[in-house]
Amino acid sequence: MSIDAIRQYIRVEILDDETVSIEADEDLMMNQVLDSMDVMRLVTHLEQSCGFKIPPQDVTLEHFSTLRRIDSYVTARRNGDQLV
């Protein structure tokens, strides 16, 4: 899972518009790219793609507000890093 792959999932599966531009550091909530229910769909997709469970306490602003943060979170989980 990369920033590009997450961006593509959001474009195709959530927004149904492959032409939407989403910057890696763009705030997905403040720019109304996603709402809270869309985040849950994304979480389910990440769990299925990556093969690990994402506990509710990890679905936070710190980990899910931008594409880059989501990617960092997924990478850290894969590497078994300690999350803050």
């Binding site: 909530m29 809270s36 229910m37």
Partner: protein
């Protein structure tokens, strides 16, 4: 203090407890003394820029400490604040600026993108913006050069404090005018009911353009307590929201059921120390009992109050929820009228209903809106004169909501008058359909709405979301609904969806559902 004006507590507490935090936002606090001085400076700047008594001033910004400065600065200048959804489309923003004849706007640098797209039809000066927008602007550094003393402004409690715009049936929003008297009556009710004291930290979770925010800001100020502004990003993540409650030691929250359901299901409550939370008020739409029961069990030290009231008459009634029995799936009562309000339940011929008879709730109260801005047609429809207790005539407001008073004296909300549907010769309450579907253990939320069919008549459709991990298809849910409501009230089409569309205040957007479902086949049950 001049205690008949909604902004008076700020100057009062600036003298009595100057260093007490009036506002808190993302780790930063603003004391009552600082808020008083900053809002005085903004008031002077607005007056210098030509604002007259009762001139309308828009507030167009995200949550920040300066939001509080904007509210109080406008009121101290004798103006009327008009909250504007910072996420609203520019076209809608332009409509409100034009409709409300707004010549002054308090905003922020972060809103420059939207401000640049504005094409105002009258001169517009923007305050609190230091970047180029193509509009006449006054920056915070210029405002800071104004005197910190209170401007000399004469106001009475019948003057307007704010105009709140909500969706209108024509597609254009309509503005509700609220006086200082109405607002302060509401604020004092809130302070008294919840027993707010200076030690309370009250969340400002709802957006400013949603009337729950009037409690957040003004009931809190009545007590000299602290408003904890919740960043919009935090409100989108239930686990961040519970983290914020914990770190900010929030003691009182007033929000919509959806926020609380999400908080319970995805907020990792068991991992947080939410012991500071002593009172939760909720309103805006019915709270399914099974969800409320779960939250009450998770927060055994908090009290819970169901607050009912349309934006035109906030906090008409309230109900302090006692412990709920495990098998109780009856809708939560809306309780009894709040202080300084009278209720009147009328049948279709404007006759007074006896206890047990359903009718439209009408209200007589000083919290009532002064009417819709420039909409005499609407005012004529919803306000009427009627002798109160057989004596002098007074103004009542038609809420458009059907209620019934049970023998226990408590009012039960039955649904919107315009949500009463005539189908196959029977009257059906769409809220009753929703309650029937939501009573299935697998269902998280339900929405029923009307879709016109090809013959020009109406069909009931519904859409549900399921609880985390639950499984149920539409056929199962329809079988369950058949045990709760008559056959004629069953939806002709039922969807099981991942989520429901929401309005900006977090309520289910049933208009959107109806619009997107128009043309769906009848008799369908899809999952």
């Amino acid at each position: 203090m001049t205690d008949f004006l909604i902004h008076s507590p700020v100057a009062h507490y600036a003298r009595v407890t100057p260093q007490q935090a009036a506002l808190s936002f993302a780790g930063h606090e603003m004391s009552y003394a600082a808020l008083d001085a900053a809002s005085n400076r903004l008031a002077h700047a607005l007056i210098s820029s030509g604002l007259k008594r009762q001139g309308r001033v828009g507030i167009f910004m995200h949550k920040a400490l300066s939001l509080g400065v904007a509210i109080y600065g406008i009121l101290k200048a004798g103006g009327v604040f008009v909250p504007l959804d910072p996420f609203m489309p520019v076209e809608r923003l332009g409509f409100i600026l034009d409709d409300c004849e707004i010549g002054h706007l308090v905003s922020a640098d972060g809103m420059a993108g939207a401000l640049k797209q504005l094409e105002p039809t009258r001169p517009l000066t923007v305050f609190g913006v230091g970047v180029e927008t193509g509009l006449a602007s006054v920056s915070w550094s210029q405002i800071d050069a104004e005197p910190a003393s209170a401007p000399d402004v004469w106001l009475i409690d019948q003057d307007l404090g704010y105009i709140m715009y909500t969706s209108g049936s024509t597609g254009n929003p309509k503005g509700m005018m609220h006086s200082h008297l109405g607002s302060i009556t509401y604020a004092r009710w809130g302070r008294s009911h919840v027993g707010l004291t200076a030690g309370d930290r009250v969340a400002s979770h709802a957006p400013l353009h949603f009337d729950l925010s009037i409690f957040d800001f003004f009931s809190t100020a009545q007590a000299g307590a602290t408003v904890v502004l919740v960043p919009e990003q935090v409100t989108k993540f239930p686990a961040s929201w519970t983290q914020y409650i914990e770190s900010e030691r929030i003691s009182v929250v007033f929000t919509v059921p959806f926020t609380l359901i999400e908080m319970m299901q995805r907020g990792a409550i068991e991992q947080r120390d939410l012991s500071s939370l002593r009172w939760i008020l909720f309103g805006g739409e019915p709270y399914p009992p099974k969800h409320l029961r779960a939250l009450m069990a998770a927060l055994p030290n908090a009290r819970f109050t169901n607050v009912y009231g349309p934006a035109e008459a906030p906090s008409c009634t309230c109900y302090d929820v006692p412990p709920l029995a495990d098998d109780d799936d009856q809708p939560i009562p809306i309780g009894t009228v709040s202080c300084n309000s009278d209720d009147l339940i009328l049948d279709d011929d404007d006759g007074e209903c006896a206890d047990g008879e359903a009718g439209e709730l009408c209200i007589r109260s000083s919290t009532l809106t002064r009417g819709y801005w420039k909409r005499p047609d609407l005012n004529q429809r919803v306000f009427f004169e009627r002798p109160s207790y057989g004596h002098f005539p007074d103004i009542y407001f038609r809420t458009g909501d059907y209620v019934v008073r049970h023998p226990d004296g408590l009012l039960r909300y039955l649904g919107r008058k315009d949500r009463m549907v005539k189908t196959r010769g029977h009257r059906v309450e769409l809220d009753e359909v929703e309650a029937a579907l939501a009573s299935h253990p697998a269902v998280s939320e339900a929405a029923a709405f009307v879709v016109p069919d090809a013959h020009g008549s109406k069909q009931i459709h519904a859409c549900v979301t399921l609880c985390d991990g639950a499984r149920a298809d539409a056929a199962v849910l329809m079988r369950h609904a058949r045990t709760k409501i008559p056959a004629y009230a069953l939806p002709r089409h039922l969807d099981v969806a991942d989520d429901l569309p929401r309005t900006s205040s977090g309520k289910i957007d049933r208009r959107q559902l109806a619009a997107t479902n128009a043309g769906q086949p009848a008799h369908g049950t899809e999952s």
